[in-house]
């Protein structure tokens, strides 16, 4: 069964369910993410966003349901069944983490080179060519360094390439993590609360970076609490509440959806999101 190459769906989540013992974290969730778009998953705390995210990126095995990723060339991957490292290597899905997971004791440059591990391993003939310093491996290594430099330049860390990653300020660490994920040349970049802990200026830079990534052909999927950024850059928003989808559509529609407003309202008077949502509405 061939799918037409013009198929817009990149990611197709169908009836996803995740149960932890007696607790149903995600309940029959279905949604699609389009190629070349920024899709955001939002919702009040405890809505199950991180659980969905971890299922898509291969950290949880869903209780039931399917997650299908389709490449432009028609190749299909069942993300709910793929092994952890295959999610990146075969399916081309990269991710960042809520608590930044850099290789703190390695330099900024080394972090980006580790991301290109598989390409370098293949070029090194699994060690043999590299052991003898062959030209092909050296070329591949130089290419990898150039790719790293390209990204470092883009995020403004070229001058700190030889510093330990753990010594960078928080905002720079977050950007480095994104650059590292991009060095694996994914077709889908998943970001777990990328704006958490960033000041408004840093958030703006982050938004610009994500838009740039989209412009270059990589699709994005993110979880985020920063409503302003989400509304500004997303093409498609999915709203979860208590593990169920309550809204699905473009930002303008979601913003005005009464179900979404009440979900956030019901959380409490001082909900940041609720305030931001209502501010957005007035805008």
């Amino acid at each position: 069964m061939t799918k037409p190459a013009a198929m817009p769906w990149l990611l197709c989540v169908e009836n996803l369910m995740m149960r932890f013992g007696g607790l149903t974290a995600v309940d029959h969730l279905s949604f699609n993410a389009e190629r070349g778009q920024i899709t955001a998953i939002i919702g009040p705390n405890g809505a199950g966003k991180t659980t969905v995210f971890n299922c898509i990126t291969g950290f949880y095995r869903p209780t039931s349901g399917t997650i299908l990723l389709t490449h432009p060339n028609g190749a299909e991957y069942r993300l709910d069944q793929l092994r952890g490292d295959h999610i990146n290597r075969r399916a081309g899905v990269a991710r960042t983490f809520q608590n930044v997971r850099l290789f703190a004791g390695m330099t900024v440059l080394e972090n980006l080179l580790v991301a290109q591990h598989n390409r370098l391993m293949a070029a090194s003939g699994f060690g043999i060519r590299a052991l003898f310093g062959s030209g092909r491996y050296r070329r591949a290594e130089q290419e990898a360094i150039d790719r790293a430099k390209f990204w470092l330049d883009r995020i403004g860390l070229l001058a700190r390439a030889d510093d330990p990653a753990g010594a960078l300020p928080y905002g720079a660490q977050r950007q480095l993590e994104i650059a590292r994920a991009m060095c694996t040349e994914p077709i889908l970049l998943c970001l777990d609360e990328p704006a958490a802990g960033l000041n408004p200026r840093e958030t703006e830079d982050l938004g610009a970076l994500l838009l740039q990534i989209r412009a270059e052909g990589c699709s994005l999927l993110l979880i985020e609490h920063d409503m302003k950024m989400v509304m500004q850059i997303s093409d498609h928003i999915i709203v979860l509440d208590h593990g169920r989808k309550i809204s699905d559509g473009p930002p303008a529609m979601v913003r005005a959806d009464p179900k979404v407003i009440s979900a956030y309202l019901g959380e409490g008077e001082d909900s940041e999101e609720q305030t931001e949502l209502s501010l957005e509405q007035k805008a």
């Binding site: 971890n54 950290f59 983490f97 809520q98 608590n99």
Partner: protein
């Protein structure tokens, strides 16, 4: 070596022996699991505290006999208390000197320090007490015959019953301590989150010290019983007993007290049954292999809490 017509009797005897041995391992295993649960380190020297407990028991018994206290129950009680008290002191001193300065340091330093402590204790006892095996005449001989099948008599020794009872009693007291007292609550809080517990005003240093002290006392009880059961000790018994007890703790699920006891029983039973039916020389290989196989399928042990790393 099966006695043809007395298969059941033979097996029953091994069961009795295995449970007795398992209780001793269980007592040592509890000390390992407590320390690991609270500060996340393998106390390599714990097995040697068991050995010191055995030596202290021997010294006490010999000394009591020399000054004329020959009433067996009285002598045993005094020796047990003496061994437990001094071993507790050793446990406290080891933590204070070798581990506390390294707390918060990176993972491997305390491990090397513990290995160093273990080597130190073994050789310390070897130097001051001599390398020869030390014998003790049987103090609690006899027992009852449970059944007799085709000439094979299943014996349940008084000593075996005593060991099982004392172990159960000690564990019961210990469980009460952990679940009902403020100290126990403090210990469990430290296990969950050390920093937070300190911030809440609980004296973390004291809690950790007491964990080591109690663990050492339990190990001493195990040493005392080992001395009585086997009738001879030497400075090296701590190593292999320690490895097996830690194996038991891991098998049962580290951090879980019932797991430690369960693990101890399993190791004791495997060892006894393997020796009886297959070969004595490879009994340790059997125990270690079971551990390896069990961990392949249950990476956190039988009763262990699955460590879900937050992503």
């Amino acid at each position: 070596m099966n006695h043809g017509g007395s298969i059941l009797a033979y097996a029953l005897q091994q069961l009795i022996n295995g449970v007795t041995l398992g209780m001793i391992y269980g007592l040592i295993a509890v000390g390992y699991t407590m320390v690991y649960g609270i500060i996340g380190m393998i106390n390599f020297a714990h097995g040697d505290v068991f050995m010191i407990g055995a030596f202290l028991s021997l010294i006490a018994l010999v000394g009591l006999a020399a000054i004329g206290i020959t009433a067996v129950p009285l002598a045993l009680a005094i020796a047990l208390l003496f061994a437990a008290a001094i071993s507790a002191l050793y446990g406290w001193a080891i933590e204070r000197v070798a581990y506390r300065p390294l707390r918060g340091s990176f993972r491997l330093a305390p491990l090397i320090s513990a290995i160093g402590m273990s080597i130190t204790l073994e050789n310390y006892v070897q130097v001051v007490q001599g390398a020869r095996v030390k014998p003790l005449m049987p103090l609690i001989p006899g027992g009852i015959t449970l059944m007799n099948q085709n000439g094979f008599a299943v014996r349940l020794g008084w000593l075996q019953m005593l060991i099982v009872l004392v172990t159960l009693l000690v564990l019961a007291i210990f469980t009460w301590l952990v679940t009902r007292t403020p100290l126990g609550r403090a210990m469990r809080a430290c296990e969950q989150d050390l920093k937070m517990t300190a911030l809440l005003g609980i004296d973390v240093d004291r809690t950790i010290s007491l964990t080591f002290v109690i663990g050492a006392a339990l190990a001493a009880v195990a040493g005392f019983m080992f001395l009585l059961y086997y009738g001879s000790i030497d400075f090296f018994i701590g190593f292999i007993a320690g490895v097996k007890a830690f194996t038991a703790a891991v098998l049962g699920g580290i951090g879980s007290l019932p797991g430690a006891v369960l693990g101890g029983l399993l190791i004791g039973l495997i060892e006894t049954f393997w020796s009886a039916y297959f070969s004595v020389q490879y009994k340790d290989v059997a125990a270690f292999s079971i551990l390896a196989i069990a961990l392949i399928f249950l990476p956190t042990g039988l009763l262990g809490r699955a460590e879900v790393e937050k992503v």
